[in-house]
């Protein structure tokens, strides 16, 4: 049923950067360390300590800005965002407000009906993360929260999209695209569960045709693409129910509960929005010259979009295959290493997306640790191409290669898997099969051509899978109709 309302979604994404140190101090920022073992006067907010900007954070921000079609500001400044919370030691977060480093970008996504749609990026700015709160779970600590400041001052990029998305699927398409890009650039490890890529969704609805935006609710920090989709869909329904029953949507922050698939109100935002930003006097302005931008642009890797298009145009892959391979940089590199060794992009794509990906998923290993290298895989595929083995036998050989780390040729040789392409040997097999199944042969000759499959199966079985399937088909046809 078509809804009475149009959905409007804007997304804020916090991208944690893969620098070695924090944004304003030299503390390391490794995930999962003992609480408060990665701190110093700066990130604890001790009086007199002064923040100094990590140059790499600026470089990563420029990289991300360029990759998302943003304009890089020649001059940008840091601001203090003032609020009180126990995970924020200074009583303010150093962020950017006026003059962020990147503005006016965009990403193109594919919508549900395969149409390309441009999603605007209002801005991307640099800021520090807050610490982490752990709430007491024992009887003794039930009225206590514990503050861990290891994460405080960790560098983040916050990207803010325009309210351009009109469905949960569009929102997910945008998020996945942004995720791919930051991982490709190497500026983020992309780990949603550990909070390296966090998404807040601003969702509102309005009657079709209405110009003004409806009142929005903000859905906070949801840590998987699936839950983000669920949370947005739940929110759209909740707001539609409110409007249908004559109530109003209240501007608020809502927390999604993945257990129940519902959300609850966190706090009213009316007052919280008064952050009283002002330029941070501890940090001097940032001036980025054209030479620096050009240098970074020069060093950008080929991005997923460009790679996908190249896989389609130069390698002749389908849009679907190209999309899947280009989505993962390491998978794409593996595929590309394989192609020139076989001269058959489609075959390589099938195997990388098929057998290789299946083994990686089953064993939960990274492609860079795969026991079968691109060269080894190409060695196997070439044996299919020159008819030494069938595609079916190749899968068995591949399995053994994966387990033993041996080359395809060694396995084919040792196990005697070479395909039988000797026509007289195949003929002999076929004659045996026909002689053993006189009834089916008669039925076939009487017009039941479906039985061809049965005969092919029997012959392949008799040859232990080694007969060349093309030749079996051909000779069978001759023999049966003869």
């Amino acid at each position: 049923m078509a809804s009475k309302y149009e959905t409007v979604i804007g997304l804020e994404v916090h991208v944690q950067l893969t620098t070695d140190t924090k944004i304003f101090c030299g503390c390391s920022k490794v995930f999962g360390q003992e609480p408060n073992t990665q701190t110093c006067p700066v990130c604890l907010g001790l009086p007199g300590a002064l923040p100094v900007l990590n140059e790499k954070v600026v470089e990563f921000a420029i990289k991300t800005g360029l990759a998302t079609n943003c304009a890089i500001a020649p001059r940008s400044i840091f601001a203090r965002k003032n609020y009180f919370y126990p995970d924020l030691p200074k009583g303010y977060q150093i962020s950017q407000f006026e003059l962020p480093i990147c503005e006016h970008g965009w990403l193109d996504i594919l919508t549900e009906n395969e149409a390309e749609k441009r999603i605007g990026i209002t801005r991307i700015h640099m800021e520090e993360d807050a610490g982490k709160l752990v709430h007491g779970e024992t009887q003794e600590s039930s009225r206590t929260s514990f503050v861990d400041l290891n994460r405080a001052c960790t560098p983040l990029l916050e990207s803010v999209s325009e309210p351009d998305m009109r469905s949960a699927d569009e929102a997910i398409a945008y998020l996945k695209k942004l995720h791919q890009i930051v991982v490709y650039l190497g500026v983020c490890d992309g780990n949603l569960e550990e909070g390296s890529f966090r998404c807040d969704a601003n969702v509102s609805i309005r009657p079709w045709g209405q110009k003004e935006l409806g009142t929005r609710a903000e859905l906070k920090n949801i840590n998987s693409f699936r839950f983000i989709k669920q949370a947005i869909e739940y929110e759209i329904e909740r707001q539609a129910d409110l409007l249908d029953s004559g109530s109003q949507v209240v501007q608020e922050t809502r927390l999604f509960d993945s257990q129940t698939g519902t959300s609850r109100s966190m706090r009213s935002k009316e007052e919280a929005h008064d952050y009283r930003y002002f330029p941070d006097p501890d940090l001097v302005p940032l001036v980025i010259d054209k030479a620096w931008i050009a240098e970074i642009r020069e060093g950008l890797p080929e991005l997923p979009e460009a790679k996908r298009l190249r896989f389609e145009s130069e390698m002749g892959l389908s849009a679907y295959d190209a999309e899947i391979l280009a989505a993962d940089q390491a998978l794409a590199a593996f595929f590309e290493a394989c192609v020139p060794l076989t001269g058959d992009a489609k075959l390589c794509a099938n195997w990388v997306m098929g057998e290789i990906s299946r083994q990686l998923n089953e064993g939960n290993i990274a492609i860079t640790d795969a026991p079968v290298s691109p060269t080894r895989l190409a060695g196997l595929l070439n044996r299919i191409k020159d008819n030494t083995i069938s595609g079916k036998i190749a899968k068995n050989v591949f399995e053994k290669m994966w387990q033993s780390g041996q080359e395809a040729d060694a396995i084919i040789e040792a196990e005697g898997l070479k395909q039988v392409t000797d026509s007289s040997a195949i003929e002999a097999l076929i004659e045996e099969v026909i002689a053993a199944n006189p009834g089916q042969a008669a039925e076939y000759r009487a017009g039941k051509e479906k039985l061809m499959g049965f005969f092919v199966g029997q012959v392949m079985k008799a040859s232990k899978g080694k007969a060349n399937p093309g030749m079996v088909n051909q000779i069978l046809k001759d023999k049966l109709s003869g």
Partner: protein, 95 residues
Amino acid sequence: MKISRAEVEHVSRLARLTLTDRELDAMQDEMDKFLGYVEQLNQLDTEGIVPTAHVVPMENAFRKDEVQPGFTREQALANAPEPDPAGFRVPRVIE
């Protein structure tokens, strides 16, 4: 008055200050004086002048992305009123 009583109450809430009526009166009075003082700046013609973000004529003070030794946990928690291996203890905050 350049600042209303409601504004003073709002600002005190943001600063997590609980003020008595008398204190609010005094605060409103003082803030009114500050604002009057600062307002003198409005007499200047600032047309075409870039807003000052920093008073020191300097830009791009960077640090290399190199790890420096920081505090041990004991040092980090040394000033905490209630240190605990699990972290700085604070009254429970749940949203």
